[in-house]
Amino acid sequence: MVERLLELARRKADAAEVHLVETESRPIQFENNDLKYVHTKSSRVLSLRVIHRGRIGFASTTDPSTSERLVAQAVESAQFGQEAKFAFPPSAACPDVAVYDPRVADFPVEQGIQLGRDAIARVLGEFADVQCYVEISKSVGTERIANTSGLACEERRTGFDCGLTAVRVRDGGILWVSDGESSRALVANFDRYTAKVTGDIRQAETEAAAPTGAVPVLFTARAVGLLLQFLESAVNGKLVQKGASPLVGRLGEQVLGPEVTICDDATRPFGDGSVAFDAEGVPAQRTPLFERGVLRSYLFDLQTAGMLGAASTGNAGRGFAAVPMPEASNFVLEPGSATFDGLLAGIERGLLVDEVIGGGQSNVLAGEFSVNVSLGFLVERGERVGRVKDCMVAGNVFEIFKRIRGLGSTQEVHGPIVAPPVCFDGVHVAGGD
């Protein structure tokens, strides 16, 4: 399929690249404490990118029998497309990255159902009045890329996603708590997540008024993910090339506090975003982005790198049937030396934030965030006092990452984000009333 399309395209265009993704996934879903469905989904997307008379053309399909039309469409769109600032790469040695776990591929549906049932039973054993939702999904996929410069690569990858959400409705108030994991390796044991969820429900039973004003705020490893998304956007080569990132032209400058070291690492074993090569066939790598707060690099695909006279960092990603764009693989914040309890103990009066909603509404590019805390706790004299409701936290990510009180010594993995908990000084908190 790939070779045939490449041959057809070679005859009509100056250069061509064929990209094929085939995936089969099997989600199992529990709703309201009961098994709701088992699905099997297979999908395929065949994409053709051409460079013709110096311009980029693109078309995609799920139907390989339409190869000739696909070539005609890609060549037609190249009349208008962007000027190509790159050549399709020849084949290169890729790092050996663990992305396939046979235990995921062989994971039987019955075992998934049992895993879900057990998790729900454990939660209901402690709290009979909650509704649980569980999703356990495995996937096996193959990505193939070939181009007219001689590159031909293929990789098989597994994916395992599981999530547990518990909803409790009490006195008109609603509490949602959830935990889970996305990995390329099997998650055979759910205990960690059920323990987190039941712990959260218990902790949330006591309520407290939110503090108001600029106070110390401890973000759990999961909540730090929200803040890291802003930094991820800021180093995205596309936003840099457009001049939209506040980090444009600041390579080598101290832009964050000296405690902050962040890299993008596609080579982490079984990481949710791990690959041996990116969506253009460029070998995956580990890219230091911030070293002790100093900006070291942006993330690039071939075209955006070419536009800025830089080299691809192997960060091309593709949305469904879409042209490649730069995207982070695994975004890793290096740990510090404090324990979580130590960070908490250092707060005289402040807030612990574990989950938020409303991430997309503020001025993301400038690093401004203003979010509703859906799961957070008042902290007084180093202790959690009670759950706060109707509370907003707001600030600027670039500013608060210069006001770090401490970084936790233990990283947690939340999908493609790897981070420790972080405590910041002077984060603006507003109560709801």
Binding site: S43, A59, Q82, Q361, A366, N372
Partner: protein
């Protein structure tokens, strides 16, 4: 095709089974600032089987249609694993019909070059204005033909053609960045994306004017909401709560959304209606083959209905409403809205302003979020109302509150119903975007909480 699917269904050992097969083709053009970021075509073929055994669902989706009997058997096996009770589906007369799309000007007959030229033209209009920092112009069209057969005897072929565009202007002054947006998109045809020069001028002027606006002072206000934001409010804050799959297996939520409960004053009506001609959320049959129909959700202030699939209707002992929709063959149908709107009443905007005296006038939506009964919406633009007239322009106006309290505080409803479609659509679970429209007239909300930095 129908016969092929019917034959495959012969392999089903289930209480109920269905197959949907789909062909799709779409084109898109995206300008971001000066760059043509994407111009491409996409086509797909695929299908899915859904089977129900003892109340449990199995679902299989695929791209190759040549192994249908195997997929049917697999869906039935999966349903066997899930089912432990009794299959319940509200009866609907099996639909046997072929529904062709009716468009004015068919986007498939318009050359890609012409679509590109149109976007470039709009983009130049927006970028040509002083203080506009950047722009976004997007064009999308899609054609879909869905064949649906079920063991109940349905045999349905439906075609749809969607076409739309989105125009965004972003103005900048130092760190002050403001944006304005206009979207169009529905089932009428290519003509909806033509002739938008005046809209380009309007979004540009609005973005630039917002630079000079003062941030609003937070607090409680009497707020007049324009039809665009009223429609988003009806859909996001209230509509999702009326989707039956949200409540049917959850006793506390079922109680909260009990039919007969008063949700607003007598003059409040909220409707979902896929039978409106050619709006973004219109259709003849939903993805389960149930005919769409006009459903009053709130009538005279009282919750009178909710939106159903065949399963949720049977489980709640209510009528199916034809609201089970899937965004493509890769997904199972779930309960969704179509064209959701607040019914118009008698107030003219001028009278409403005069009657209000002091307050805020808010227009358009920049997005928002809801969590159960709490909602937050950012208005695109806002004005103070003083002495019954529009006064200074304000920005960063975020409306927030409890949907039930807010519905009860709607004390006046305008006479100027408008519908808004566009490219955005609705997201629920993993299925996004689903084409929908939202609508309403101007409405007035008393005692509405507005967030602000001061």
């Amino acid at each position: 095709m129908e016969q092929l699917l019917k034959n495959a269904l012969g392999h089903a050992r289930a209480d109920y089974a269905e197959i949907r097969a789909e062909r799709r083709a779409s084109a898109r053009v995206t300008y971001a600032g000066r760059e043509l970021e994407d111009i491409s075509c996409f086509s797909s073929v695929g299908g899915c089987v859904r089977a129900l055994v003892r109340g449990g669902w199995g679902f299989v989706s695929f791209n190759d249609l040549d192994d249908l009997p195997r997929y049917v058997r697999l869906a039935c096996e999966q349903a066997e694993l899930v089912g432990r009770t009794k299959s319940l589906l509200a009866p609907v007369p099996p639909a046997v019909e072929s529904v062709a799309a009716k468009v004015g000007s068919d986007p498939r007959e318009v050359p890609l070059a012409q679509k590109e030229a149109l976007c470039r033209h709009y983009n130049q209009l927006i970028l040509g204005r002083p203080r506009v920092q950047t722009s976004s112009v997007r064009y999308r069209d899609s054609w879909a033909e869905t064949t649906f057969v079920s063991t109940d005897g349905a045999c349905l072929c439906q075609e749809e053609v969607f076409c739309g565009a989105s125009l965004i202007a972003i103005a900048k002054d130092g760190t002050n960045v403001q944006r304005a947006h206009k979207g169009v998109g529905d089932l009428r045809g290519y003509q909806v994306v033509e002739g938008l020069d005046a809209e380009c001028a309007k979004v540009t002027e609005r973005a630039v004017a917002l630079l000079a606006a003062e941030p609003v002072r937070g607090g409680r206000y009497t707020v007049i909401v324009d039809p665009a934001l009223a429609g988003v409010f009806a859909h996001e804050a209230f509509g999702h709560l009326s989707e039956a799959d949200f409540v049917y297996e959850n006793p506390p939520l079922r109680e909260m959304m009990q039919l007969g409960r008063r949700f607003g004053p007598d003059h409040l009506g909220i409707v979902d209606d896929p039978t409106l001609p050619d709006e973004a959320g219109s259709y003849r049959y939903d993805s389960e083959g149930t005919p769409g129909r006009r459903t009053h959700l709130i009538q005279d202030g009282i919750l009178v209905n909710r939106l159903h699939s065949r399963e949720t209707a049977a489980k709640m002992g209510e009528e199916p409403t034809g609201n089970a929709r899937a965004i493509s063959h890769q997904y199972q149908p779930i309960v969704r809205m179509s064209n959701t709107y607040i019914e118009p009443r008698s107030w003219a905007l001028g009278d409403l302003l005069a009657d209000t005296g002091q307050g805020l006038y808010v227009r358009g939506s920049l997005g928002g979020q809801t969590e159960m009964e709490m909602f937050t919406f950012s208005a695109e633009e806002a004005f103070a109302i003083r002495d019954g007239r529009l006064a200074e322009r304000l920005r960063e106006v975020v409306l927030t509150g409890n949907v039930f309290e807010t519905l009860a505080n709607i004390d006046a409803v305008g006479n100027d119903l408008e519908f808004y479609g566009g490219l955005g659509g609705c997201g629920k679970g993993e299925q996004s975007p689903l084409r929908v429209s939202t609508g309403g007239p101007h409405i007035r909300i008393r005692n509405c909480l507005v967030g602000g930095r001061q």
